[in-house]
C-alpha cells in the first residue's frame, strides 16, 4: 500500500516538475495529464473512488482538452528561440518565495496536533455516502454551484464572441 503510494507520489512530483520546466506549453499540458492521473491513483488509495473518477473525467478529460484546444488555437511562435522564464531577478525571487511558502506550510502543519483517527463506519459505499450528503447537508452549496457554472458559461461565451476594445 505504501509502496504504491510512493510510486504514485514519485510520478506526480516528476511530472509536476516537468510541467514547470518544459519548454513547449503543449508538452507541459501532456505532463499535467500524467500528474492528474497519478493524483487520481492516490485518491483511490485514500478510499475516494468517486473523486478519483471525477478527477479523471473532469480534469484529465475536460479541462485538459480545453487547454490543448487553446494552445493549438493560438498557434504560438516557435518557442525555441524564445525566453521561457522571467529574467533572473524574478526567477530568484520566485524560487525564494516558494521555499518560504514551503517553510511556512511545514511550520503550520507541524504545529497542529491531530486527534486520533477513527475506524471506518460500516454501511454505505463511497458514492452513496457522497450522494446522501450532497442532497441533504450540502444542498444549498450544490445549487449555488450550478449558478456558478451558468455564470462561467455566459462569461466564456461573451468573452469569446466580442473583441476586447
Amino acid at each position: 500500500m505504501q509502496m504504491i503510494f510512493f510510486i504514485l507520489a514519485g510520478v506526480a512530483l516528476v511530472s509536476g516538475g516537468l510541467v514547470v520546466f518544459q519548454r513547449h506549453p503543449l508538452r507541459s499540458a501532456l505532463w499535467l495529464i500524467v500528474n492528474f492521473f497519478a493524483v487520481a491513483g492516490i485518491y483511490l488509495l485514500a478510499h475516494a473512488e468517486f473523486i478519483a473518477a471525477i478527477q479523471i473525467i473532469v480534469y484529465a478529460g475536460a479541462i485538459m482538452v480545453l487547454f490543448l484546444f487553446v494552445i493549438m488555437l493560438l498557434n504560438l511562435r516557435q518557442p525555441e528561440e524564445e525566453q521561457r522564464f522571467m529574467h533572473l531577478g524574478q526567477k530568484v525571487g520566485g524560487i525564494t518565495l516558494a521555499v518560504f511558502t514551503v517553510l511556512l506550510l511545514v511550520y503550520g502543519v507541524c504545529k497542529v496536533v491531530l486527534p486520533p483517527g477513527k475506524a471506518a463506519p460500516p454501511g454505505l459505499g463511497n458514492t452513496e455516502s457522497i450522494a446522501k450528503l450532497l442532497f441533504t447537508d450540502y444542498l444549498l452549496p450544490f445549487e449555488v454551484t450550478s449558478v456558478l457554472l451558468l455564470v462561467a458559461i455566459v462569461g466564456a461565451v461573451v468573452l469569446a464572441k466580442s473583441k476586447l476594445k
Binding site: 473532469v58 487547454f67 468573452l159
Partner: protein, 101 residues
Amino acid sequence: MVVPVSYYLTLSIALFALGVIGVLVRRNVLVIMMCIEMMLNAVNLAFIGFADYFKAVDGQMFVFFVMTVAAAEVAVGLALIVAIFRNRGTVYVDELNILKW
C-alpha cells in the same frame, strides 16, 4: 498498512510549491494557468488525506466543489486568454502590461 496522513500532506505541500514556482517563474500565461490547476489539485489532495484520516465524507464534498470552481475558472480564464491574444498578439505576461502606467 494504511498510508499515514503526514505522507499526503507532504506530497500536497510539494506539489503546491511546484505550482507556486511555476506561477512565479514562467512567462507563458497558459503554463501559469496549468500551474494554478496543479496548486488546486494539491489542496484537493490534502482534503482527501484528511477525509481518509477522519473517515468523514465532508472532505470529499469540498473537493467536489473545488473542482467545480476550477472548471469554471479555466473556462473563463482561457476565454480571456484567447481574447487578449487576439487583441495584443502575445501570451507572455511581461508583455501584457496595459494595466501598468
